[in-house]
Amino acid sequence: MTTAVPDEKGVEALVAQEPVAATAKRALSSPWASLTAIIIAVVWTLPTFGLLVTSFRPEGDIKTSGWWSAFITSTPWKNWTLANYDQVLNGSDTNLSTYFINSIIITVPSVLIPISIAVMAAYAFAWMKFPGRDFLFVAVFALQIVPIQVTMIPLLKLYVNQGFAGSEAPGGGFYTIWLSHSIFALPLAIYLLHNFMSQIPGELIESARVDGAAHVQIFTRIMLPLMAPAIAAFGIFQFLWVWNDLLVALVFGGGSLEVSPLTVRLAELSGTRGNDWFLLSAGAFVSLIVPLIVFLSLQRYFVRGLLAGSVKG
């Protein structure tokens, strides 16, 4: 093929046989294109990498030289230490381990409560007949667009009046945060789970009904197992949303450090100890480690949930 001059038909066949991937690649793989991609990748990675390196350097080194200079010496890791992490987690003035636990305490119910309630509502909206169903569903969907700020002040007053706020309240004041996250998540959760459920073929439900199954049996025996991927997508989205949230925790936690998550504490540290990079760098990574693990291990679900939840809050 390489030496013989192909006839016209042969050329066409050759072009057609060439994989599209290769043509697309050839079209764009000029050195400039590669250079641009590399520059973007470096700019996007370097800030995080710099802070990560800093978190392992001794306090004195951080103050007197840039993190990149650690790589100019022959043994950059010679002085590396976990002391920053030790101090930021257990030091009495920062004590991030407490806040790490608070973050867990806040996040787990804030994911499970909306799922438990939304799964039931979504089933009713998808498979039960009752007057006003379509109107209610559209209303729930539409409330997704309410920005959290719009609900905050009256909701906070409501909590205070009902005795949910403060360290004397039931649950030590965590209920305000749990309830708020659950409420803000419901419209999205119901919408997502409803969409998923209504795609399940109607014959499946009908035949189960004919066989004498009631809605509760259909719900628990057929629906819940089928729902696993949708619940996972929503759960991961909500998990990261709550874990990374600052506004809800700040407002509904009422500034009480007893119930504050990592984000609130870190934001505060960034204000009061803004130049103590040995603390801030390690502190930032204490809060980043969980989202990074979730993201790297469950990337597929994460992207799906992210797209669906993109207008939330």
Binding site: A24, A121, A124, M128, Q149, T151, S281, V311
Partner: protein, 320 residues
């Protein structure tokens, strides 16, 4: 509260809500008649409807109502709070900054995300290359703010620099620059943080729709001698137009509501406040409920048309 007590409280909270669901399921499982089904469906949706009604609908309506009252919520003041937002010099600055955020973040992050998606498409390192850009999306805006505050760290030109941005400036022979303090450009440097976060979102969505462009279109264009930038301009961009719109509108909405970066990096000082942060500041620092609720209502008003447009585009996208 000790750690153990916290975990016990957490388990109680979860148990309470799971018990509600279990009781509803148990109580309604025998209902078969037509009326029974009505009761059953009411029981299924009631917990959600109550929570949404009390926690979203009622507060939203109250907020809009209170935006027509003064700072304590006692005397009606008509549209005065809104007038303040659009005439007071401090508030005008907030509007200026918000406009800069909402224009720059969606356009630049979509542009960078698109260019990157095209460049790494079908390359050997595609998966890793995409994960690198997407990673900022997974972390908190507080974390992102701290990462960038370190990049922008300022020291006088005569000292050793520890922030990489000023180290580069110094290396090129310029004076070091107070990225976070100098108005008005500090807003731009805060905006860069948001672009850094959102570009990954744009790239992921756009990359998926680039892959969905039918092969025969690209083939036909190639046979006609189209390539490189022309292919990008005349084939790629028109084919992914609906996704482009969804990405642009989604990022605008997120940006309008973003509050964490301003709070963490400057605390709204040095003329960097935006609407979402100003809401917080007016209520919690200035105790001005009227103005705070008016700002919240304004955010709502600005978000609404974008969301409606966004949802329509998303529907179209799903229908294809």
């Amino acid at each position: 509260m000790s750690t153990g007590e916290k975990f016990i409280q957490m388990l109680i909270a979860i148990a309470v809500f799971f018990a509600v669901v279990a009781i509803i399921l148990l109580l309604t499982q025998r209902l078969r008649s037509r009326r029974g089904e009505l009761i059953q469906s009411a029981a299924f949706i009631l917990p959600a409807i109550i929570l949404i009604g009390v926690g979203l609908l009622y507060p939203a309506v109250t907020t809009i109502y209170q935006s027509f009252f003064d700072r304590t919520g006692d005397a009606a003041v008509g549209f005065d709070n809104y007038k303040t937002i659009f005439t007071d010099s401090d508030q005008l600055l907030v509007l200026r900054n918000t406009a800069a955020w909402v224009l720059l973040v969606p356009i630049l992050s979509t542009f960078i995300g698109l260019v990157y998606a095209v460049l790494v498409d079908r390359s050997r390192f595609e998966k890793v290359a995409k994960a690198l850009i997407f990673l900022p999306m997974a972390i908190s805006l507080v974390g992102a703010s701290i990462i960038w505050k370190f990049v922008y760290d300022y020291r006088d030109s005569s000292n050793t620099q520890i922030g990489i941005a000023n180290a580069i400036l110094k290396g090129l022979g310029f004076d070091t620059y107070k990225f976070i303090l100098n108005d008005p450009w500090n807003t731009v440097f805060l905006i860069i943080v948001m672009i850094w976060v959102q570009a990954g979102f744009a790239m992921t969505i756009l990359s998926a729709s680039i892959k969905a462009i039918p092969d025969d279109i690209i083939e036909a264009a190639t046979l006609d001698g189209v390539g490189g930038l022309k292919m990008f301009r005349y084939i790629t961009v028109p084919s992914i137009r609906p996704s482009l719109i969804v990405v642009l509108t989604t990022i605008s909405i997120t940006t309008l509501k973003a509050f964490d970066i301003v709070r963490t990096m400057t605390g709204g000082n040095f003329d960097t406040s935006v609407l979402a942060y100003q809401f917080y500041r007016e209520y919690f620092n200035s105790a001005n409920q009227g103005l705070a609720t008016a700002i919240a209502s304004l955010i709502f008003l600005l978000v609404m048309p974008i969301v409606i447009y966004n949802v329509r585009q998303m529907r179209k996208l799903e229908a294809r």
